[in-house]
Amino acid sequence: MATETSESTETAGATERLVGHQTVERLLGTSLYVVSGLLLLFLWVPLAIIIFLAFAENAVTIFPFEGLTLDNFRLALRSDSMRASLAGSFTIATVAASVATVLGVLASFALTRYRFRLREVYRTFGIIPLVIPGIILGVALRIYFQNLLGILPGFATVVLAHSLYGLPFVLLIVSARLYTFDESLEEAARDLGADPLTVFRDVTLPVIAPAVGAGFLFAWIRSFEDYIRALFLTGPNTDVLTIWMFSRIRQLDAPELNAVSALIVFGIAIALAVAMNVGNVTGYVAGTVTEEEG
């Protein structure tokens, strides 16, 4: 563009453009920060309000404000049904995520180390549980268990469903790590006389451990927060926190709900802060882990 202007106006024009350029640049930079700030506000305001209401006398809205209290937390922690469903969800998530982690780690080795027929099909089907809508997977598994296999919904069915749901998270994170893994380390250990199990335990596992941990964490959280699959795959004797919460949100008047929600936000915040400093979770989530960082 500059080359098209004539010689005589070149200098003046350039100065003018330079000033304009700097202003535009600064404006753009500022607006980028403003937009990003507003976005963070958008992400955070609803959660902040839940936390605030957890400490407030009034349960569902701020005005008129009626004062601060800790009663909501007392109510939540004293509720037997809440504790039972929390324990139920913990157990389901832990068992399901453990199964998903074992399956996912093995599958990651297969995908990164070996060539075999139908490998691409296998990889695609390993990701599908992540993208298929929960309602369809939930209904399909319910019909399958109840009408084809004659198994009534209960603890086992929901654990099986969640272990399948968690598999893609482990698979994606661990195989990404294995792709950058230097296999000559394993060869060296083998040459020095280590058997495959020892090589895995002493050489491979320490390197991929953060990725395995991140995969487990992901699968655990996905199982813990799932409602729709659990709805179709649990029976009356399986307590699940999300189902407990769902029924109370529908009634729209449950002061202990805000307290439970606030406790969950705090719990996740602590877990995340620890995970970010210990295992570089952000790297695994954003897919930016390199050999040096891992």
């Binding site: 990003s36 297969a110 296998y122 309602i135 209904v139 399909a140 409602y227 949100i249 952000t282």
Partner: protein, 309 residues
């Protein structure tokens, strides 16, 4: 390596098993393949079959005689085809999911760009504040918007107490706008992280070079940034669009009975009357459209890029 004596034989067997390439493949592929076959492929195949069979409304048993009645019932409503609950719900779901995806894309791009260009402390702090809502239970986030919206919700009551409005505004009541906001809030981090992963690999000196050579900002964005980050854009859109189509919790809470999306329709037919034939047939339409979207997406991105890896 202080293996106990009784373990020794089991260990020896495991080592022998892991020595052959064939058995090694079997051990690594086998368990997850079995899981995928019995818990994903078989149930979906059975669902396809159920959609073509009659289901007894008395015993809930499947009558194994091929029929198209389930599909016919999707489009039977005693009126025009586009007025049946199924068609209305499916169409509304696509509209809501499309708007949500576009909203997430435009909102996430500036933040992803900023994150990719900045590093260090700021990055770590910002990513923490983005990830925390992301990891917070979906149900809690949906509930937080239940509190925000509604005639007496936080937004309306705050605006009224500040004297900005006299009566609750309709736009902040429950309904389609509330659902779109709720879904955007729920799936925004997927878009942000996928975009960030793809912008992070971008060589920013190319953009500076293009600017030096006289390209305008719009031209740089159109000719360089967007083509180079296309896998991220497509992957992120898929991650937002697909779950939005099948959303259940958010439209249930933020629609408050006024809106019915396809996920709610399927749920009500199964939970209410156990009409699994109808639900299976309806699911087929959702599945086919999702598979179509994925095939389209995979022409531009590989599945590894989709995982943000």
């Amino acid at each position: 390596m202080a293996a106990d004596e009784p373990d020794e034989s089991a260990r020896a067997r495991a080592v022998r098993l892991l020595s052959g390439p064939r058995s090694r493949l079997g051990v690594t592929v086998g368990p997850s393949a079995a899981w995928i076959l019995t818990l994903l492929v078989a149930p979906l195949a059975f669902m396809v079959a159920v959609s073509f069979f009659e289901v007894s409304s008395l015993t809930y048993q499947i009558v194994y005689e091929p029929t198209l009645n389930n599909y016919r019932s999707l489009f039977d409503g005693g009126g025009a085809i586009w007025n049946t609950p199924f068609v209305t719900a499916l169409w509304l779901s696509y509209v809501i999911a499309t708007v949500t995806t576009l909203l997430c894309l435009t909102l996430a791009f500036p933040l992803a760009y900023l994150l990719a260009r900045s590093g260090g402390r700021l990055f770590k702090v910002v990513i923490f504040f983005v990830l925390l809502p992301f990891f917070t239970m979906y149900l809690v986030r949906a509930y937080s918007w239940v509190l925000m919206f509604g005639p007496g919700g936080v937004i309306n009551s705050t605006l009224m107490s500040w004297g900005l409005i006299d009566a609750p505004l309709g736009i902040f009541n429950y309904g389609v706008p509330a659902i779109i906001v709720g879904l955007t809030h729920a799936y925004f981090p997927y878009m942000l992280l996928t975009l960030y992963a793809s912008l992070d690999g971008l060589d920013f000196s190319i953009l500076e070079a293009a600017r030096d050579l006289g390209a305008s900002r719009v031209e740089v964005l159109r000719d360089h940034v967007i083509p180079l980050t296309l896998p991220g854009i497509i992957g992120g859109s898929l991650f937002v669009f697909v779950p939005s189509v099948g959303a259940f919790i958010t439209p249930t809470f933020l629609g408050q009975g006024k809106v019915q999306m396809i996920g709610m329709l399927i749920e009500s037919r199964v939970a209410g009357t156990y009409s699994i034939g109808y639900a299976s047939a309806a699911s087929m339409f959702v599945l086919v459209s999702i598979v179509g979207a994925m095939i389209l997406a995979f022409r531009y991105v590989s599945i590894e890029e989709l995982g943000g890896a």
